[in-house]
Symmetry: D2
Subunit: 336 residues, 4 copies
Amino acid sequence: MTFYSDNAAAPCPEVLAAIAAAAPATVSGYDGDPISARLDAAFAEVFGQACTVLPVGTGTAANALALATMVPPYGAIVCHQDAHIQVDECGAPGFFTGGAALMLVPGAAGKLTPEGIATALLPHRGDVHQVQVRALSLTQATEAGTVYTPAELAALGDHARAQGWRVHLDGARFANAVAHLGCHPGDISCRAGVDILSFGTIKNGGLSAEAIVVFGPDLVADLKFRRKRAGQMPSKGRFQAAQLLAMIEGGTWLRNAARANAGAQAIAAAAGDRVMHPVEANEVFVQLRPGEPERLRAAGLGFYDWGAAGSGEARFVVAWDTPDADIAALAALLAG
Amino acid sequence: MTFYSDNAAAPCPEVLAAIAAAAPATVSGYDGDPISARLDAAFAEVFGQACTVLPVGTGTAANALALATMVPPYGAIVCHQDAHIQVDECGAPGFFTGGAALMLVPGAAGKLTPEGIATALLPHRGDVHQVQVRALSLTQATEAGTVYTPAELAALGDHARAQGWRVHLDGARFANAVAHLGCHPGDISCRAGVDILSFGTIKNGGLSAEAIVVFGPDLVADLKFRRKRAGQMPSKGRFQAAQLLAMIEGGTWLRNAARANAGAQAIAAAAGDRVMHPVEANEVFVQLRPGEPERLRAAGLGFYDWGAAGSGEARFVVAWDTPDADIAALAALLAG
Amino acid sequence: MTFYSDNAAAPCPEVLAAIAAAAPATVSGYDGDPISARLDAAFAEVFGQACTVLPVGTGTAANALALATMVPPYGAIVCHQDAHIQVDECGAPGFFTGGAALMLVPGAAGKLTPEGIATALLPHRGDVHQVQVRALSLTQATEAGTVYTPAELAALGDHARAQGWRVHLDGARFANAVAHLGCHPGDISCRAGVDILSFGTIKNGGLSAEAIVVFGPDLVADLKFRRKRAGQMPSKGRFQAAQLLAMIEGGTWLRNAARANAGAQAIAAAAGDRVMHPVEANEVFVQLRPGEPERLRAAGLGFYDWGAAGSGEARFVVAWDTPDADIAALAALLAG
Amino acid sequence: MTFYSDNAAAPCPEVLAAIAAAAPATVSGYDGDPISARLDAAFAEVFGQACTVLPVGTGTAANALALATMVPPYGAIVCHQDAHIQVDECGAPGFFTGGAALMLVPGAAGKLTPEGIATALLPHRGDVHQVQVRALSLTQATEAGTVYTPAELAALGDHARAQGWRVHLDGARFANAVAHLGCHPGDISCRAGVDILSFGTIKNGGLSAEAIVVFGPDLVADLKFRRKRAGQMPSKGRFQAAQLLAMIEGGTWLRNAARANAGAQAIAAAAGDRVMHPVEANEVFVQLRPGEPERLRAAGLGFYDWGAAGSGEARFVVAWDTPDADIAALAALLAG
């Protein structure tokens, strides 16, 4: 019974079937095959806006490539202090941008606000002695398992636009956010001012494809060269394209995410007021009681301690394929 | 009937089966799963030497990461003027190394020699005003479809060692070289002084995994961080590991390569003295006659013109899955 | 009457004379002239330890080159949150290192402590998902105008060594620190575990030369290439060497610094308990009273507001050539 | 008697006087002083076009910064195969651009032509698999001591514009070219399509200032940040500005260059038909006779062998301050 992360889950049947179906040889490699040719239109259908889709192999690559195309080497990127690009990507933004800096902003429940950003940047200057903010990177669903509302995102997008910044959205769990909100996918991406979305599938039943979804047409040409140069353009690109199509066509992505979200709700209900942040996606952060971590592990549950050492905080992540019985077992233990 | 490249071929059944078998969820992501845990030992068995294996998604990533760990930003890499790292990777070595230069050396039939390298570097100096050669990058099989003998490679390795350079081998078609030579894989890699091998599978029946095989233990720690930072460490890494194991365990890689090589021999035999380089792998370069390109294409054959515009040169690549009938058809047309 | 910064002061007569004396043509450019040839020995005499001295044109270049030779691109550098390398160098460390990160640590009165660093790094991990600390960058005198004691620096150096980090010291105002402590220059550099010192002269009566003083011989070769590559190796390098020699030979650097420090003491005495940090170098931070900034400026005094907008904090910097009358005028106004 | 290079010559009296005159303290550092404030207008007067002037400390910095602002990291720069940026700057363009490549083009007498460039780039493609040419870097006077005519430069500028490339001119010896041609400085810079000129003074009687002269206003903002970030913005920038003004105001630059050019003509006349390239600036390349290098050196002459080892080629560079007697001595020996 493992609640470590959704990143080691099984790929869903739709994705596996799509890979098998894409197996026959094609005439052209790279993005020249018929499956890859369908990507842009399929995503435009989902988002209600023309876009360009560039598949890559990891979320780290999606995020770092997106940011590199938005900011110069002397640029800076505003993000939450707990953002994945800061905490878990080994400095990839610094590598891909040629040395741009992340400007870390705190925010409750994993969320940024225009006011919080403005306050954090008060000492920052626009002269040549300092790096220059050129992009805002948001995460949806957030690292705290919460979800920005369309209005919250739009306000952040407006704030960024007013400063002349581009907007990146790390959507490793974007599907969980859409499933939670029940909104149109465009409401929390292109319509909220997002220029580039890192659209994740791997945590949500995918196998090896994430999508860089570019809504800002001026960014496309640059990004294509950067992607190739980064070794993120596989010759058999049809297998990434096929996975992405399998996720979005027929609604697989939302079904998988809804299932994971529901599991998180069940766990949250059991944990009651010990839940540390609103549970709006597929992650539950719980303040455990003394001795409880040991009891849970003794019962066969795998999960990560969170927060500062000894804090007693724990993170439980539900994947699209987490067995109902495992969820029930965890819930029972937490409620007990 | 397509002879454009082996890079859009179908994945072989062994690889597809391995992906399906790796589907069930694992406890740990990244390289923490049981399949990934088998990689080092499996490759050590093949090469007869301890090594560390880091899967990545493209040959470009394998090459550029290997080089970045070998040379400082002010370094230089000696390679053939037609090397893939120079011609077809959008400057990836420059990106990954932080700006190191490629020093291009000519050489007949795609091959370098110690003498050729020494001559080309005669004007080069060791003072601080010039970039400093720190690595030699070779390609096996070469871009001309030829294969270095173990003795040729060992001589190049010795030359590099004598200068204090590390040695990288771009083995996108390494399997074809081993199949041609019938040698031990170590004879044209670790035993010939190669520090890091880019072991390709994608052109040889793989789907999305190449292996960085590191024989120099001092290079491993640095490379692991660079790989993560480059977005080349997927959370579901077990699918790359499974593909690599499917290729090398049971000899799939050599069977696939031998089949492609045999097809190239059939085409070469038909082309006779119009073949431009010794055909030792799965590529055939042919000097076509006036009007012949058009006739071949009218017959339904797909292939790339090669060399300078109007030269009449053509490249035919045979993949592991190129139908016998297609090969026979091409051979008949060339012989006609 | 300007107390903005010491960075626009006049060069001292010794430096101007040295430049004039270096004017005649030499046989060899770059570092091949007789003046440059004296640098290493002259600094070794000052520091009591063999060292290699590489002149550069700015403190930013000195700092960034030093750090680039200490940390890999996936590395991180621990520094005070107010460090010049973070606040006023437009991200130069990110550029020169290829994207390494600064890890900002708070600390009272501009100083770091081993305990403060350890606490700040508690959440930091050594796995491949995070950048890796490889260097500690300290500033002496600090950005708050305070000075680390030899014991404080040695403790920080020990802490760094114990973690396997290299130690960089930003000594833009190193002379002021030595003048304040009355210690041997080695006591707060090489003897305290510093690998590379950015030895500043420009703020202390120099014109256009800062020295990278390398105590770690293993770092020299790499640094020389990086310096050239960064455009920091002028062909008429003798003029930078001459300035550096003019500063250290005959004690000019300590005389100039002592004079500036004394001016700061006079101002601090006048400001009394409104001084915000111990005044140990040539900078005085004062909590002004409402209306006082306007009164001072009306009296013809130039200085920077400091801290958050509206805080009423001000910074006064005394240069080696600030007129006594100006210092007295400021002191009288503050005491009034 | 040294003819090694003009890069170790004495600074001229005008420059030394300007440095002395700039000594008094100023209110603001960096570019905020009254001397720096005069730069743009003074250069606009010389070039007959509005421009922005950014002083730096070396020609390498001027060149690399200029190129970095013109090409993306996946870009390429066309230059002569003997260009200083390729041969003698330790790969600085690769560092400053984030890994862009130089595309080396051969050309007689150190010159490029539109036809030569077009031929060299024939195999180059515009797809994402290759780096993309975005700039042409020319050198005036060339590395062979020749000078492009205004018409030659304009044709190259037109060729670049037609491809969508920016144009950089390495003018380490720009003054010698203008003195030779007797043209308006704008005729071989802004009026010929040059976007950024590296205007050299150090080889021509300067001490430590080169000027990046930007004619393309869209490039200025980016360049200012890159300059600071590269540690090329000294706080006492007034000393670089003063040197630049001393060179261009009053015609010092052209007088110095004319004197050096004249010396080269005297040497060329003596060498007769052994001169290898037209002598149009201050460099003379001579095919020496067997035994002649030894005889010249025995007579006390310092100079560099050139070309391949054993070729007998020699380079003689005349500086603005090379004594007439030395020139006469060399001429007599060559004519003898």
